[in-house]
Amino acid sequence: MGGSVSISALIVGTALLGIFALASISLNDSARSASEVAEESKDEPEIRLINASESSGTIHVNMTNAGDEIISFDQTWFSIDGGLLIRASDYHSQSTVLFPGETLHMQLNGTGFTSPTRIFVASMGGQSGVSFS
C-alpha cells in the first residue's frame, strides 16, 4: 500500500509540474509577442523640402527622403500658405513613392496659388517646410 501512495504522489507531482511548464510556456509566448509589438512600431519618415519656387501658377518643389522608410505620395500632403491640404499623388503621377536617399523635383499644376510664401509637407508624422525663393 505504501508503494501505491508513493506512486500516486509521483503521478500527481509530475502532473503539477507539467501544468506549471505549460503555463510558463504560455506566459513566455505572451511576453514575447508583447515585446514584438514594441519592436513593430515604425519610425517616422524623414521628408525634407529643399527649395520651392512658383512660376505662372505652377509650383516647383525639390524634396528628398532623408530617412530609411519609403514615402508614399498617397500619404503625403502639401499645405501652401497654411491653406487646404493637397495630396501629392493628385499632382504627381510619374512615380508613386520616394525611396530613401532619393531627391525628386515635383511640379504642382493648378493649385490656384499665386505668389505663395511658404510650402509645408507632412507624411505619416514626418514634416518639413520651406519658404518660396
Partner: protein
C-alpha cells in the same frame, strides 16, 4: 495489518483530494493571470497600431476669433482605422468642442494616410495672430481584437 492498510488507503484518498483541490486552484489562478496578460497584450497591440500626427502647417494655423474656429488637419499615421467622431482636443489648456469634421480626398473612412479636417472651438479663448499655443489631440481607433486603441500627441502651433 488490516488497520494499517485502511489508514494508508484513507491517506491516499486524502492526498489525492488535496492534490486535486490544489491543482484546480492553481489552474484557475494561472488562467486568470494568462487572461490578464492577454488583455494587456491586446491593449498594447491596439495602442501601437493607433497613431496620428498633425498634417497642417504648424506655423500657419487658421483661426477665426469671431466664429471661434480653429482649423486643424490630422493624418492617421497608424495602421488601424480611426474614429472621426471620437476625438478630444485641448487647445491652449482649454478643452475644445469639435464643431465639424471632414475627410479630405475621396475616402469615406479615416484609414491610414488619410487626413481629417477639424473645425475646433476652444471656448472662452482669445487668440491673436502670431501667438503660439499648444494643442493636444487624442484619437481612438476602431476595435481590434475587441479592444479600441488610443493615442495622444501635443504640438505647438502658431496662429496665422
Amino acid at each position: 495489518m488490516a488497520d494499517g492498510g485502511a489508514s494508508e488507503l484513507i491517506m491516499l484518498i486524502s492526498g489525492l483530494l488535496v492534490a486535486g483541490i490544489v491543482t484546480t486552484l492553481l489552474i484557475a489562478s494561472w488562467g486568470g493571470l494568462a487572461n490578464s496578460v492577454d488583455t494587456v497584450h491586446n491593449q498594447a497591440e491596439a495602442d501601437s497600431k493607433t497613431k496620428a500626427a498633425l498634417a497642417s502647417d504648424p506655423m500657419q494655423v487658421s483661426w477665426d476669433q469671431a466664429s471661434c474656429n480653429l482649423s486643424l488637419h490630422i493624418q492617421n499615421t497608424g495602421t488601424l482605422e480611426l474614429l472621426d467622431g471620437e476625438i478630444g482636443i485641448i487647445a491652449n489648456g482649454t478643452a475644445s468642442t469639435v464643431n465639424q469634421t471632414r475627410l479630405l480626398g475621396n475616402s469615406s473612412v479615416w484609414t491610414s494616410g488619410e487626413v481629417l479636417e477639424l473645425q475646433v472651438c476652444p471656448s472662452s479663448v482669445t487668440l491673436s495672430v502670431g501667438q503660439e499655443i499648444t494643442v493636444t489631440i487624442v484619437v481612438r481607433s476602431e476595435h481590434y481584437q475587441g479592444i479600441s486603441g488610443q493615442y495622444s500627441f501635443s504640438e505647438v502651433i502658431r496662429i496665422g
